[in-house]
């Protein structure tokens, strides 16, 4: 409990709007910010060895694609990340790194494993006790929620602006991207009563008290009725609800058991409504949601990783392999920075996706039991 406020303070991600500032500032002297030169094809990190402690990375995106920057511990456990670095923009990431080996990654286009480099942090590092490993899981996942939430608000704002401006094509492009951030953190969002149904409810879930609204109402108007002229209030309400869910999500501390169940629930989402095309039935952008759910599941598992490695290393290996298989299967349907539409996949291709998700979800369903054991 005592550590929590400290960690929150440490992982504050500050976005510095620096449009136009493309100077190749490589100052990064000892103690200063570490420059990260990100482009569509490269990710040059100013240093590859650091002393244990808090460091600031300054990421400048000189490419044409929106990028993200991550510092990963083993198994892609997120130590810090900054999302949605648009071309020309520069952002800061402040992250506390105990001694160990890490990887940095830029993700131009915001998908895939990204452009990786090793990062070694020296200093003394005492092995974690089991309890400390579990306590870290909560903190680690909080960092993930924080960065995802901020990107969610930014991208939803863009989407809502396009909808209110009547720009159908732009709205269609932004729809799956804004949803990506929501789908990654959906297990947290679902904690807060009516907010998830208001944001993400489907037409057949609507009731007199909770009429059809949110992302899917606008989706229907974009793709099916092709008329968004009356969606201004729906769009405004969506942004209000997203901001509220984000505020609550950032304040929420998920227990290790909640994380384990969240990781499983995200895959259940994939199996039950993304592979079938039920979720995005008008736009057929289900594979964006699919990838986002898998990302979110992986982040939750990664947060638990130190504890899992102590208790059941075989399960960790099994899950790692299964995640790789999902990534490889999904990669078959990548189109540019996005994905094929769900209704473009054959039954055999959908079964291939279903098989790898089942293969992953079964070992992931065992995590909760491992965590719960004393």
């Amino acid at each position: 409990m005592r550590r929590t406020p400290l960690i929150l303070a440490l992982v504050t991600v500050s976005a510095v709007a620096a449009c136009g500032d493309k100077s190749d500032d490589t100052a990064a002297s000892a103690g200063g910010p570490i420059a990260v030169k990100a482009s569509d094809t490269a990710c040059e990190v100013g240093k590859n060895t650091l002393d244990a402690g808090t460091h600031v990375f300054q990421i400048a995106n000189s490419g044409n694609k929106v990028t993200e920057f991550y510092v990963y511990a083993a198994g892609d456990r997120v130590m810090g990340e900054v999302e949605n670095i648009t071309p020309g923009l520069s952002r800061e990431l402040r992250v506390e790194l105990p001694a160990g080996t890490y990887q940095t990654a830029c993700k131009p286009g915001m998908i895939g494993a990204g452009i990786r480099a090793d990062l070694t942090v020296s200093g003394s590092a005492a092995p974690l006790t089991e309890d400390a490993a579990l306590a870290q899981a909560t903190e680690s996942y909080s960092r993930y929620i924080t960065s995802q939430s901020e990107a969610l608000v930014e991208k939803t704002t863009d989407f809502v602006t396009a909808v209110k401006g009547g720009d159908i094509e732009k709205s269609k492009t932004l729809f799956p991207i804004a949803r990506t951030y929501y789908e990654r953190i959906e297990p947290v969002a679902e904690i807060f009563g009516d907010l998830d149904p208001k944001i993400d409810g489907r037409e057949d879930d609507a009731t007199a008290e909770l009429p059809f609204s949110g992302f899917h109402k606008i989706e229907k108007d974009l793709w099916a009725t092709k008329d968004i002229s009356k969606d201004g209030p729906v769009a405004d309400q969506l942004l209000t609800d997203v901001k509220e869910v984000v505020a609550k999500a950032k304040a929420e501390k998920l227990s290790p058991l909640q994380l384990a169940n969240g990781a499983k629930e995200l895959l259940d989402e994939v199996a039950n409504s993304k592979i079938t095309g039920e979720e995005d039935r008008y736009s057929h952008t289900d594979l964006w949601d699919f990838a986002a759910n898998v990302d979110g599941s992986q982040a939750a598992v990664a947060a638990l990783r130190p504890a899992l490695e102590q208790r059941n290393p075989d399960l960790v290996k099994q899950i790692d392999t299964a995640f790789t298989n999902v990534d490889n299967e999904l990669a078959k349907y990548r189109v540019g920075d996005g994905w094929k539409y769900q209704n473009e996949l054959s039954q055999t291709e959908l079964k291939g996706l279903s098989d790898v998700i089942n293969a992953l979800a079964e070992p992931i369903s065992k995590i909760a039991g491992v965590i719960a054991q004393k």
């Binding site: 293969a359 979800a361 369903s365 491992v370 719960a372």
Partner: protein
């Protein structure tokens, strides 16, 4: 370990001891009395031995219910496949003994973890459950000819792909498979529970390709059983191979040393065919024509021209028509070949055109399909008057290895040795 040793029946009895209230105790007592009223020759009367020289579920008197599943193997890792076969064998040994699929059980584990048994068979007896496994041609070589697990040299010649038979309307998605598993029981829920738990244990290593439920046996595999009826309303399997016919079984059912690879000695080859019956048009066919097509009477099941079901058909007589089913399927028409049939009636709802999607899920075991099922089916497919009312929609072929000798053995051990 403690809970794994407790059968589902016993678990209920133990639970009963803790149930307060007359109604609860009476209900449980009643259930036990019902189950225990069966003859008590074996410790659990409705349990079929899992271990033995041959797999159970072949000459075992045909149970009433079927759940059949065909799996595709997903993994490329031979060791993972072997581990799955070991895990499956252990789960099958437990389930056929009326126990839970996993060692912990459906309700004995911690609340935070999913149970290692799915639970729908809690309180149900073993119900004569047998689980029988077979390996399909594609396990040895895939469609491109690749030797997937180093087994190609051990593929029996008898496991050659079945030919296309005249009139076949086979749906590839409902056919073949790397591994076939037949679960038979006298309670449909017990059969479904068995397949469901095997599929779950196999997640990530195998994937369900297709599966089929059967609700009523259409063959007798023992002289102790009455002959059942198929959905044409006729007795089916009168002339089937039976468990008591040991000489015929040796000659026609079991693969022997010298037939092919040694790992199949004591095994048998299983052919599956899902045969849709065009029920509605059959039902408006006259009784006389129905009997002519089958070559037997509908009531008694006697061959045309005879009085009793088990009378031998007189194939020299023209009263059994040239295209009658009984004539074309008879061993004397097929170089003496006998099959052990073990099929089940199915109704998969209706077909959207107001017709029952119904028929026979045909299963036949034999020593060599090339000398048994293939020539018989070629003969039937070319000439059988019944074809007007039949559509073969699925086809499968599996090499079923010999039995599992004990807890240290597993399905297919000799194949992978």
């Amino acid at each position: 370990m403690s809970s794994s040793q407790v059968s589902r029946r016993r678990a209920i009895a133990l639970a009963g001891a803790g149930v307060a209230g007359v109604a609860g105790a009476a209900a449980i007592g009643g259930a036990l009395a019902r189950q225990d009223s069966a003859p008590s020759a074996a410790p659990v009367a409705d349990q079929v031995a899992f271990y033995g020289p041959v797999q159970a579920g072949i000459v075992t008197p045909a149970q009433d219910r079927l759940h059949f599943v065909a799996f595709d193997v997903l993994t490329k890792d031979r060791d993972r496949l072997i581990q799955l076969l070991k895990d499956w064998t252990a789960a099958a040994a437990r389930m056929t003994a009326g126990k839970d699929a996993g060692e912990v059980g459906a309700v004995a584990g911690i609340l935070e973890a999913p149970p290692d048994d799915t639970g729908e068979a809690i309180g149900l007896p073993a119900a004569g459950l047998t689980i029988t496994i077979g390996f399909g041609p594609t396990l040895f070589r895939d469609a491109t000819g690749k030797d997937r697990f180093g087994l190609a040299a051990r593929k029996p010649a008898a496991l050659a792909d079945l030919p296309h038979f005249p009139g076949d309307t086979i749906d590839a998605a409902l056919s073949a498979g790397d591994i076939g598993v037949q679960a038979c029981a006298n309670d449909p829920q017990v059969a479904v529970h068995a397949i469901r738990n095997l599929a779950r244990i196999g997640m990530g290593v195998v994937s369900v390709r297709w599966s089929q439920l059967g609700f009523g046996r259409t063959s007798s595999t023992s002289t102790t059983q009455a002959t059942p009826r198929n959905l044409f309303g006729f007795k089916d399997g009168t002339a089937n191979l039976k468990a008591e016919e040991t000489d015929l079984l040796r000659e026609h059912l079991w693969a022997a040393t010298g037939d092919g690879p040694e790992w199949m000695a004591g095994g048998s080859y299983m052919v599956t065919r899902k045969i849709r019956m065009l029920i509605e048009t059959w039902d408006r066919t006259s009784l006389g024509e129905q009997e002519d097509i089958v070559g037997r009477t509908k009531g008694e099941g006697a061959p045309i021209g005879q009085g009793q079901e088990f009378d031998e058909p007189d194939l020299t007589s023209t009263s059994i028509l040239a295209d009658a089913h009984v004539r074309l399927a008879h061993p004397t028409t097929n170089s003496g070949a006998h099959l052990l049939r073990r099929g089940y009636n199915f109704v998969d709802g209706s077909d959207g055109l107001g017709r029952l999607n119904a028929g026979l899920f045909f299963i036949a075991y034999q020593r060599d399909p090339r000398t048994h099922f293939v020539p018989i089916q070629l003969n039937l497919a070319r000439h059988d008057a019944m074809n007007e009312y039949l559509r073969h929609v699925s086809s499968g072929l599996f090499a079923c290895p010999p039995g599992v000798s004990g807890p240290d053995d597993y399905w297919g051990r000799a194949l992978f040795a």
